[in-house]
């Protein structure tokens, strides 16, 4: 209990530091904006006004939800495929002979460049989801693979001594053991996903924050570009923080 309290206090402290840093950053931005008065550097107040305006018009929420839906769908696909293939590649003989080299060999490909090709094959909507899923697949598959190969032998022995099958070992030892690694992979995947969704959405404009940024940029609507970039960044930071908190909570329970 005491430990948990101390843990929460530390998280709170870290949160305060982040908020303080943000305030400092906005203050700095304000000073620079007012001093130089460039059109491409609007004051924070202008951006806030833009945010409020697009929020009341419903544009912000509508497009943020489109982006969120794409990111979440892609990550769910990446999670299922990455986790299962990572497990197969590290825990089965055939998997480590066939799957593992394929995963490792295709990892360094710059997958963003697949967008034009995916567009032909999958159409406008699914090509966006697919490219995010492909890119986020790798951190998840790789961390699953790495953690699954170094599962402590003693825990496997324990389940084996109870008469447990291979499935039992996967279920009660391997999966719980790799959850922290999986969450780390997921955390990295999520921050990458928000970067990729921008590229995917600005390639062919069919809604989403990426499309709004691209569109506002072409119209030289500076405050709008800032407003949507901030929204996208906030979504990324929030997702990252949620997964990070999950990781911490799980680790605190174990060690």
């Amino acid at each position: 209990m005491e430990q948990a309290k101390a843990g929460y206090r530390r998280v709170l402290q870290e949160l305060l530091v982040v908020i303080a840093a943000l305030i400092l950053l906005v203050a700095l931005w304000y000073v620079v904006a007012v001093t130089y008065e460039k059109p491409y550097l609007p004051a924070p107040s202008q951006v806030v006004l833009e945010l409020r305006e697009s929020f009341t018009r419903g544009v912000l929420v509508e497009n943020a939800l489109i982006t969120l839906k794409r990111v979440v769908t892609a990550i769910l696909i990446a999670l299922i495929l990455g986790f299962s293939s990572g497990l197969l590649a590290s825990r089965t003989a055939a998997g480590s002979r066939v799957l593992r080299p394929i995963i490792l060999a295709t990892y360094p490909i710059p997958h963003v460049t697949l967008i034009p090709i995916l567009l032909w094959i999958l159409g406008v909507e699914w090509s966006k989801i697919a490219v995010i899923a492909i890119i986020t697949y790798y951190p998840i598959a790789l961390s699953t693979m790495e953690w699954a190969t170094r599962t402590p032998r003693e825990y496997e022995d324990l389940v084996k001594s109870m008469g447990g099958s291979r499935l039992h070992i996967i279920l009660y030892v391997v999966i719980p053991y790799i959850i922290p690694g999986l969450l780390t992979g997921l955390r990295i995947a999520t921050s990458t996903a928000y970067a990729v969704v921008f590229i995917a959405e600005s390639f062919v404009l069919t809604g989403g924050l990426g499309a709004l940024i691209e569109d506002s940029w072409h119209r030289f609507d500076y405050p709008a570009v800032y407003a949507y970039v901030i929204t996208l960044a906030t979504m990324g930071i929030t997702s990252y923080t949620i997964i990070w908190a999950l990781e911490k909570a799980y680790m605190r329970r174990l060690a």
């Binding site: 825990y155 324990l158 389940v159 001594s161 109870m162 008469g163 447990g164 009660y172 030892v173």
Partner: protein, 234 residues
Amino acid sequence: MKLYIENLTFKYRGDSVYVLDSFSYTFESPRLHVILGPNGVGKTTLLKLIAGVLSPLKGSITIDGGLIAKGSVTYVPQDNELLPWLTVYTNVELPLRIAGVNGGERRQRVTEALKTMGVLGYANRYPKHLSGGERKRVALARALASDSMIVLLDEPTANLDPRSREILWGYLKSLAKGKLVLVVTHDVSEALREGDLIHVLAGRPARIVDVFEGGEEAWSRLRQVIGVYYKSSW
């Protein structure tokens, strides 16, 4: 009940020397058996073979001539005797789940076992919140709940304080009234004082070089054995 070990042969992959070669032995229950021997002689290997964690190259291990059924052996390794990601309750329940025991019966047996071992109050805690002695008792509760006929413990009192050791031996003795309890240790004085039967494992390949009852006279007997088999290296 008797545990028959027949012609057990084993060596680790890559090793040229056999740990066990045509090792045959019988352990009888209910008793508290202690296997003594120097480090590296093969005590842990023997336990792991009986537990089914390692597979022998040759030979068989049977209970009264029959195959060892799921859940009839509980193995308590020296460290990591519980899965850290499961609560105390779920740890004890795990062998029952694996054996396919239904939910109602599982609950009853787990609760009963935790109560007997004096750890019911910790049911919802994770192993890291328990002391070493408490973790061992939870592992013993696992043996009770799954109604194992054989309980194997590897150095159970290592890293325990004297008071916890005493408590643990008490539980082991009462457990040994109904089961075959097999303890491996290199703590000689404890083994001689607490064990019903002392088996001395020595040599490479290892074999049982002497068996005697625990108690006061055990010391002088052991001294003779050590004189013959280890000179003064123990």
